[in-house]
Amino acid sequence: MKRSLQAGLLVLCGLGLLHVSLFTDLCLRYVKEGMRPLLVASGVVLLLLGLASAVLDRGRKDAEDESHGHDHGSVPGVAWLLLLPALSLLFYAPPALGAYTAARQPAKPVATHADDFDPLPRTSPLPMTLSDFTSRVRQDRGQAVKGRSIRLVGFVTPGGRDGGWDLTRIILNCCAADAQSVKVRIYGGPALPANTWVAVTGTWHPGGKLGTGSAPVALDARTVTKVARPTNGYQDALPLG
């Protein structure tokens, strides 16, 4: 691999990282917000390294490499593989994980609540996260969600036996390789294309015994409205504002 090409490759990698982390929000499709400063720093380092290599190594190419024929001159062809992520980040960034991944996973188990649940706030409709709703339905013996109007935000994962769909959130721990999903079955909503982000208002879909594992994690939808994908789309958080 020629030195000028090495420099070009480093610059491209650096630009790719800076493009997704500093100039746009694209990196949030792949990693968590906390990684962002590290990505910016890595992009700057790679860019500087590439530029330094382009400037400093220009004059002395072959003479020096021959004298130290064995050391840093030769980089094997496998380094070219770095081009794929670099170009992909720059020009062809794949979308965030969505319905395809969620449909192929079982829902993430919700942590068992050690102590009693607090009473729910009185706002109606009450905004809740999908995990919160799940643990209320499955574990709250006080049955606080019964009859309450609840508002959930997530994206549409079609499928299932009755032609309905799941309201879904994908949660990351570190990067998109360890994605897990939480799902709430929606009854009575319109059929929507996969990956549409919606806010659903409705009441708990009765079945089994509320507050035990037999209760279905499901909602009878009253209204379904389309919303934009939140910037923190990889968390199961309440919509901001």
């Binding site: 691999m1 000028s4 090409l5 490759l9 491209l12 990698c13 997704v20 990196c27 499709r29 792949y30 990693v31 990684m35 590290l38 990505l39 720093a41 890595s42 380092v45 790679l46 390294l49 330094a52 290599s53 400093l56 190594d57 130290h68 064995h70 050391d71 840093h72 980089v75 094997p76 062809g77 496998v78 380094a79 070219w80 593989l81 770095l82 081009l83 794929l84 992520p85 170009l87 992909s88 980040l89 062809y92 960034a93 794949p94 979308p95 965030a96 994980l97 969505g98 991944t101 192929r104 996973q105 079982p106 993430k108 721990n173 570190c174 990067c175 998109a176 390789a177 360890d178 897990q180």
Partner: protein
């Protein structure tokens, strides 16, 4: 001139690398000599092939499965790059600035004692497993006995404070899990180091010739920069290779398959060990994943967290690139066996 020429060569290289992994030869081979006799054919090919390739890539690249594959592959790469950069910068610095006698003074003379010291020293390298491979390579290059460097390589990603804190957060209320992870990882690293002393052969290792230390008459900063650049490009290529393999597994095998193995204790231990190798989750995140595998017994989850940072697809690719394939295959296989044994023993006592 060079600037304008680059992207073209780059694109040809990308297509070649995607197809057969032999990009540079193809890119460099064409403009040699005069015009070949069948040049109209070449011209036609040059006009048609890129367009068709782009069209097919566009059609096929938007299928949900392919998109998910690209997302996961890119995510693993992007997540690991900062740590790889840290590791290669550190290895470049060790190579250029740290004289050999420093390590001779720090580590005990006898290799059998150097192994535990190096294993415990793994605490100081914060970050995940990608950083430790280049650092271990540069340690060997500076005269550290390979057994000690391997103990460091295995222990560093598993026992540093960042990873242990993440484990404590992922398993709230069970400090035994954190302790078990620390002890089992350390034990595995030491046993592997001593095994290498006893059975390891130098010829399995690719001669680490490129780390030659400081030459007289060359600027140390210059050596640092070129070493850093070389190591990063080299390891980065293998990282992408490993990320592709991990993404393929991640997308091809649905997570629901896992739960079928949860019932039988022995099967679940072996299954989670295999899963840790195939998933290639970063060591800072694997505790959260292990915590979510609620159907599995605690010992099996411990195995997942001990094996993961030591052996996985991207690490095997990185090690094969750095130390040679003969080494990577033997070392990884032995490590899996030792890691499973250590975690079952320690987990059996503590959990």
């Amino acid at each position: 001139m060079q600037k304008t020429g680059e992207p073209v060569g780059v694109l040809v290289g990308a297509a070649g690398a995607a197809g057969a992994g032999s990009g540079p030869e193809e890119a460099g081979g064409e403009p040699g000599g005069g015009l070949p006799r069948f040049w109209p054919l070449l011209l036609l090919g040059a006009a048609v092939v890129p367009g068709t390739a782009l069209f097919l890539l566009g059609r096929w690249g938007d299928a949900p499965a392919v998109q998910a594959w690209r997302t996961v592959c890119l995510a693993v790469t992007v997540q690991a790059l900062p740590f790889l950069l840290l590791g290669t910068a550190l290895s470049g610095a060790i190579n250029a600035f740290v004289p050999e006698r420093v390590f001779q003074r720090l580590l005990p003379r006898r290799p059998g004692l150097a192994v535990p010291v190096a294993g415990v020293a793994g605490v100081v390298l914060p970050g995940c497993e990608c950083a430790s491979v280049p650092v271990a390579a540069s340690l060997i290059g500076r005269g550290v006995t390979p057994a000690a460097a391997f103990a460091f390589l295995l222990s560093a990603p598993a026992i540093n404070p960042v990873v242990l804190t993440a484990t404590a957060i992922a398993f709230p209320g069970s400090p035994a899990m954190v302790l078990a992870r620390l002890l089992a990882s350390l034990a595995t690293a030491l046993v592997m180091g001593w095994l290498w002393l006893r059975f390891g052969r130098a010829e399995w290792l690719r001669p680490v010739v490129r780390h030659t230390g400081h030459h007289h008459g060359r600027s140390r900063w210059d050596e640092f920069r070129t070493g850093f650049q070389h190591d990063f490009l080299h390891a980065g290529g293998f990282l992408v290779l490993g990320a592709m393999a991990a993404a393929t597994f991640n997308v091809a095998v649905p997570r629901s398959v896992l739960d079928t193995f949860a019932g039988a204790p022995w099967l679940s231990v072996l299954f989670l060990a295999g899963l840790a190798v195939l998933l290639a989750v970063c060591s800072e995140a694997d505790a959260f994943l292990a915590a979510s595998l609620t159907g599995f017994p605690p010992v099996a989850r411990l195995v997942f967290m001990v094996v993961g940072p030591m052996v996985d697809l991207k690490l095997i690719a990185l090690q094969a690139g750095t130390f040679g394939r003969a080494f990577a295959v033997r070392f990884s296989a032995a490590t899996v066996v030792v890691a499973v044994a250590c975690s079952v023993l320690i987990g059996g006592v503590l959990l």
